[in-house]
């Protein structure tokens, strides 16, 4: 309560106060029922508020809060404000960002819950290690904030970024009793007990150097910590009834990465690559890369490329890894501004062996200053043993209505 009073009093004390946000409802229509999840309709409501207070000339407080509700029990019903995003369900009320940001000269220091984005590609970001995501619906992931201290020093065309994250925020994987978890044949029909997370107890750290050249830019990055995507420990149990206990845990990870953006005469070329090593015996070691080209022509925006992977040490983990699931894949996105109020977009992924396909078509229209609605359709096709293809029963339509303020 004291905390709330403090927050409400801040605008009076602060030099400037800025806010924005939106109220949004999202409706998902699934034509097919799947084993364990017969829902054809899932509704979600989100209230998002992003505010900032300029406390002093060089000191800023950011407070971003979310409130959520849904029809499918993907979100908690508990009345509490979540600060860590470490639970399996989405919290009903959460602080996405609460941070103090200080700057002087070329230095910027941000402490608290915040968003840290690394990398330059748009289709896949192997170097984006401090950016866990909410994968409850697999194909509509949203970034989660992390608790960290970030120091950035900018001088001329060079920027050095140092990050220390004492608290681990995992990516949220799909719920076991819902349609986005496709169980292997041998596990179907067995009762499954979700035993939650086994969270790492060590801090994570990373550094990134970025250089802006004349018409190009590149960066080198290093990360030492844990993969925010989980490995899965599935343990058969016999008592009280035969079943399966599922626990998620997180592999140690060290990443050496680089990214580059270089505009050529015809398009902008972007590339990003990272080499991952791990001391966790069950985790693979591999190189992941993405090469993409992008171009804007009149009202069109084209982004297309290829994401690849080369395994250097195969250990056959049981994991949930959507980033690796869309490697060896051609990826693309096209959008067209029909007029100042409306736009259409398509994004797609096609596995190089043709075993999986994902495509999303969307039309979006603004109505007045505040309202926007969009309607879309997601088509998923492929083989049951392919990352994309396993979700082939989950093609769906989406309708979104948003009021921004």
């Amino acid at each position: 309560m004291r905390y709330l009073v403090f927050l409400l009093a801040l605008p009076l004390a602060a030099q400037t106060f800025e806010q924005r946000g939106y109220l949004e409802t999202r409706s998902f229509f699934y034509p097919r029922e799947v084993e364990g999840d017969s829902a054809n309709y899932v509704g979600e409501a989100l209230a998002r508020w992003e505010s900032s207070w300029q406390l002093r000339a060089n000191l800023r407080l950011n407070v971003w809060l979310d409130g959520r509700f849904d029809t499918h029990r993907q979100f908690e019903r508990e009345a509490r404000l979540d600060f860590a995003d470490q639970r399996q369900q989405r919290p009903a009320a959460s602080a996405r960002r609460i941070s103090l940001l200080w700057n002087k000269g070329g230095w910027t220091l941000e402490t608290g819950r915040q968003f840290i984005r690394w990398g330059k590609a748009d289709l896949l970001n192997p170097t984006d290690r401090f950016a866990p995501r909410d994968f409850l619906n697999v194909f509509t992931p949203e970034f989660l904030g992390i608790t960290a201290v970030r120091a950035t020093y900018e001088r001329g065309s060079d920027t050095m970024d140092l990050v220390y994250a004492p608290v681990f925020t995992p990516s949220r994987s799909p719920l076991l009793n819902q349609r986005w978890v496709v169980l292997p044949e041998e596990a179907r029909g067995l009762p499954i007990e979700d035993q939650g997370f086994r969270l790492p107890d060590r801090a994570q750290a990373g550094a990134r150097w970025n250089h802006l050249g004349s018409g190009y830019e590149f960066s080198l990055s290093f990360f030492d910590g844990f993969n925010h995507l989980p490995l899965i420990d599935a343990t058969p149990r016999l008592v009280p009834t035969p079943g399966l206990g599922v626990e998620r845990y997180f592999a140690r990870m060290r990443m050496y990465g680089a990214d580059v953006a270089a505009p050529t005469r015809w398009f902008t070329l972007k590339g990003e690559a990272a080499y991952f090593t791990s001391t966790t015996p069950e985790a693979d070691e591999y190189v992941q890369y993405v090469v993409q080209a992008e171009r804007m022509v009149a009202e069109w925006v084209f982004v297309g490329g290829y994401a690849g992977e080369q395994i250097t040490n195969l250990r056959n983990p049981l994991d949930f890894a959507p980033d690796r699931g869309i490697t060896k894949t051609f990826l693309g996105r096209v959008s067209y501004n029909i007029d100042p109020l409306s736009s259409a977009a398509f994004e797609g992924a096609l596995r190089q062996n043709g075993a999986g396909f994902y495509g999303k078509w969307e039309y979006s229209r603004m109505a007045g200053r505040h309202w926007r609605w969009s309607a879309g359709f997601v088509l998923i096709r492929g083989e049951p043993d392919d990352f994309l293809g396993q979700f082939r029963e989950n093609s769906h339509a989406i309708f979104t209505l948003r009021y921004s303020f």
Binding site: N103, G106, T108, E154, T268, H370
Partner: protein
């Protein structure tokens, strides 16, 4: 005799004033250490549907070497979207777009600069400053715009300027060297016409308070009104960096 020589000597600068000199003088008179305004944009499409946008524009420096930040404040769904521009006298500007929803900046590549900026009729290139020496100039004559006598000058971007436009026609008012109209051509075809109106003296600098950009090909218009305009305001250099875009998002 000596009177005639004196008169000729006095007249010589006027005669010798080339098209380039006029453009340079126009830029010089508009020079300020910094500029800040709140812009209201009315975008009128070919079907005469009107959408409104607002941005805050801040610029540090001038004459081809300025740094500028343009930050949307309205409509609410684009609040916080920002464009950072670093102009260079000898080459095209560097531009980055910041999108708060994804917490990422994106470099606007040179070949993308002919696209419209966020649904307005200004292209990314139209938002950058051009150094006077990046074009060659030719005096085409004189013509009145809105009753004001103007020089009509043709500017042709030099090959290394890499502009989307093959030539630009400028109308510069003879009374105060303020640009009254600009027509931009691709090959022989007129693609954009920019009219400067409501010209007032602000802190000693003659300034157009209304800019009316007409995209001739699409038949759409964007009217930009400059409100709360100030020159020579204290703007720290650190506000015009990529880190500042992130900090203020």
């Amino acid at each position: 005799m000596s009177k005639l020589v004196l008169m000729l000597m006095m007249a010589a600068p006027l005669v010798a004033q080339s098209a380039r000199d006029i453009v340079a003088e126009s830029q010089k008179r508009a020079q300020a250490n910094s500029q800040r305004y709140e812009g209201t944009l009315e975008v009128i499409d070919a079907k005469r549907k009107i959408t409104m946008k607002r941005w805050i524009y801040e610029r540090l420096g001038s004459a081809g070497e300025a740094k500028a930040v343009l930050r949307f404040t309205d409509p609410p769904e684009v609040k916080g979207v920002a464009l950072l521009i670093h102009n260079h006298p000898d080459r095209a500007s560097d531009q980055w777009m910041w999108t708060p929803a994804v917490q990422r900046d994106r470099r606007i590549a040179f070949q993308d600069r002919r696209t419209r900026f966020f649904g307005t009729d200004f292209t990314f290139e139209d938002l950058e400053e051009r150094d006077v020496d990046r074009s060659t100039y030719k005096m085409l004559g004189e013509e009145a715009i809105e009753g004001a006598a103007c020089w009509r000058i043709e500017a042709t971007p030099k090959p290394d300027a890499r502009s989307q436009y093959s030539r630009v026609l400028l109308w510069v008012r003879k009374s105060d060297y303020v640009v009254a109209q600009v027509e931009s051509y691709r090959a022989a075809k007129l693609v954009r016409r920019l009219k400067y109106t409501q010209i007032e003296r602000v802190q000693g600098i003659w300034t157009a308070r209304t800019l009316d950009m007409h995209d001739v090909e699409r038949d759409s218009r964007t009217i930009l009104k400059l409100e709360k305009l100030e020159y020579n305001v204290a703007l720290p250099e650190g506000q015009f960096t990529l880190q500042a875009l992130r900090r203020l998002s």
